[in-house]
């Protein structure tokens, strides 16, 4: 029994990381109306920056703050210099530009950090296990669940209760009108892109001590995020949350039953959802 509880908690932790990745993708899609194919690459960059900061300073908490912000800033610059030039072009062009960015980031990462994966130590304060009766659970994984939950609530408040959030939601419905009403829409686009990508960077940092850093993780992360948004429906906060948790739970539960097929099952689940509900569990047509 406690094995299943253990795996369920693992699934929730994993699912919350998937949520962070997909909600960033979703926010960007909602406002900017294109899919960021470099999302996995920015996640990768977050992981690698975490590795470098931890090995230089030994301070994971510093990495937890600095790495996502650095990734977000890089995203902001990319938006200003490259992506902005393509807003008037069709969707496929955005995809291809971000695909080019993903390739560049991945290859540069290998050039800097080498082709072999790295491991990141769990911060000292969170090493060891949390014990309740005869149930043990790694402290760090518990921290990830709690921390991502706080981030999720904060993000929800940001989107639902602030002026910025209101603008993002309004812009998702009709960017032109928001612009006509006097908002500097390009500034909003750049900030939103930076926020969404920063969340992917944060996910990369949080996952680094659990799964290590591997230079070819980007496409896998991107594929998983796509499964989440296909299941949950694109452009919806709750869809990303439920989809992320579902994918995380399926993956970790399958690990106990059929380890080699765990990744396969996620994509199988996606195919079933597409067959039964082509627009996802929460999606609109």
């Amino acid at each position: 029994m406690s094995l299943y509880l253990f795996q369920a908690l693992n699934g929730i932790g994993l699912g919350m990381i998937y949520f962070l990745i997909s909600v960033g993708l979703t926010i960007i899609f909602g406002l900017l109306n294109f899919v960021n194919f470099a999302h996995g690459a920015y996640y990768l960059l977050g992981s690698y920056l975490c590795f470098t900061l931890v090995s230089l300073t030994g301070n994971f908490w510093l990495a937890l703050v600095v790495a996502p912000v650095a990734v977000a800033m890089l995203a902001w610059v990319t938006e200003k210099t490259l992506i902005r030039r393509a807003y008037h072009l069709p969707h496929t062009f955005h995809i291809l530009i971000t695909l080019g960015i993903a390739l560049i980031i991945q290859e540069l990462s290998i050039a800097v950090w080498g082709p072999i994966g790295k491991t990141v130590a769990v911060p000292e304060a969170l090493s060891g296990v949390f014990r309740m009766g005869d149930f043990f659970y790694p402290k760090y994984r518990l921290f990830v669940i709690l921390f991502t939950a706080v981030i999720a609530v904060g993000l929800w408040l940001l989107l639902e209760r602030t002026r910025f959030g209101a603008l993002v939601r309004a812009g998702s419905e009709d960017a032109e009108t928001v612009s006509l009403l006097g908002t500097h829409i390009h500034k909003l686009f750049a900030l939103t892109f930076a926020l969404g990508v920063g969340l992917a960077g944060l996910a990369g940092v949080l996952a680094a001590p659990i799964r290590g850093v591997h230079p070819f993780i980007g496409p896998e992360v991107l594929g998983l995020a796509f499964v989440v948004v296909v299941i949950g429906g694109m452009g919806s906060f709750s869809g990303a949350l439920v989809g992320g948790l579902l994918v995380g739970l399926v993956q970790s539960m399958m690990t106990t039953i059929w380890p080699q097929g765990a990744s396969l099952m996620i994509y199988g689940a996606m195919a079933v959802v597409i067959l039964l509900r082509p627009y996802g569990l929460f999606g609109r047509a």
Binding site: F29, F34, V35, L82, R85, A86, L89, H91, T92, F93, I95, L96, I97, L99, G100, I101, A102, L103, I104, Q106, E107, L108, I110, A111, P219, E220, L222, G223, F226, V227, V229, V230, M234, Q260, G261, S263, L264, Y267, G268, M270, A271, I274, L275, P278, Y279
Partner: protein, 336 residues
């Protein structure tokens, strides 16, 4: 444009240009193996171009058909003793069937969801190939893939062991498929695909069942890509797992786009330049793919019709300069 005349003639300028390239490549390139690799990827790009350039479908699923074709050809040769043409036929059917399967699911959604689904299915196929390591060799790849001799009606025409003999065979296959692809895009079916690309809603309102057309385009593309994958396995005597990776889909897409979508010669040009670039740089600088990323962005932003588009505008400018403006005006008046 006189399209009816173009349609009637197989030996149009475009086909002759492809033929010239196919004949010249082994003479100009350092090895026939490199030329063979170019033609194989040109086939894969051709399949991708039918979807992206003519139907407007951006598919990240091409690696499924490429890798699937490579595995099926290899396995039928190893376990069932299939000959060369039999294995290629099996790979074509496998590529087409996989495309039908992916297409049936992915075409249920349009736009960005379609793109995301094709990418997710590539990941799925990758994990499937990885999991079925008894069949595919998993991470190590499928070793000892044979390259059977070419036999027709019991006569052995060539044993294909020399790289030039195999190049000639691949070149014939390429030209056959190139002409076939031209017939497809100039047929009423092809013009309907373009109509779907330009405005799917309108094509469907006029009465075309657009999903059926898209699915058939997918199946044709899958079949061509499956053949390319099989030829690649025969070239390398090896079917690596990387055949079915997302990166393979991306490479095929990048070749198609850099070469120029909407023109079959563009696919040959794109595959040629990228395979040659990789051959030149990969041993000197393993991270040469950075250039591909930069080139992709540059082409998308500044040269949306790709390298072939650039070549075409050069030809046009040259022709204009030669004929002179007044003559051109006279011609136009005559045409009217």
């Amino acid at each position: 444009m006189n399209t009816s005349k173009k349609q009637a003639s197989i030996f149009s300028g475009v086909t002759l240009a492809a033929l010239a390239a196919v004949v010249l490549m082994p003479l100009l390139l350092p090895s026939a193996t490199l030329a063979t690799e170019i033609l194989i990827f040109a086939l894969a790009a051709l399949g991708c171009n039918l979807l992206l350039g003519y139907t407007g479908l951006l598919s990240f699923g091409q690696a499924i058909f490429f890798g699937g074709g490579a595995y099926v050809a290899s396995l039928t040769m190893i376990h069932l003793g299939f000959g060369l043409l039999g294995a290629l036929f099996a790979a074509m059917i496998a590529g087409a069937a996989l495309a039908a399967l992916v297409g049936l699911l992915a075409i249920r959604r349009t736009g960005i969801y379609f793109v995301m689904l094709t990418l997710a299915f590539t990941q799925m196929a990758y994990f499937l190939a990885y999991t079925l390591s008894d069949w595919t060799g998993g991470d190590n790849g499928l070793l000892d893939v044979p390259r059977p001799p070419l036999t027709l009606f019991g006569f052995e025409i060539s044993d294909l062991t020399s790289s030039y003999a195999f190049y000639t065979f691949v070149a014939v296959m390429f030209m056959l498929i190139f002409v076939f692809a031209r017939r497809v895009i100039h047929s009423p079916f092809g013009t309907t695909l373009v109509a779907i690309r330009e405005n799917e809603g309108r094509a469907s309102a006029v009465g075309f069942s657009t999903n059926h057309f898209k699915l058939l385009a997918f199946v044709i593309s899958g079949g061509i890509t499956g053949i390319a994958g099989a030829l690649y396995a025969m070239l390398l005597n090896f079917a690596p797992l990387s055949n079915i990776e997302l990166l393979m889909s991306e490479n095929i897409l990048i070749m198609t786009i850099i070469g120029g979508t909407g023109s079959l010669l563009g696919s040959l040009l794109g595959a040629g330049s990228i395979v040659m670039l990789g051959d030149l740089l990969s041993s000197v600088w393993p991270r040469w793919m950075i250039i591909l990323g930069i080139a992709l962005i540059a082409v998308v932003l500044f040269m949306p019709s790709g390298l072939w588009g650039g070549v075409e505008s050069l030809i046009k400018r040259w022709k204009e300069r030669r004929s002179g403006a007044s003559e051109k005006a006279a011609k136009e008046a005559e045409a009217k």
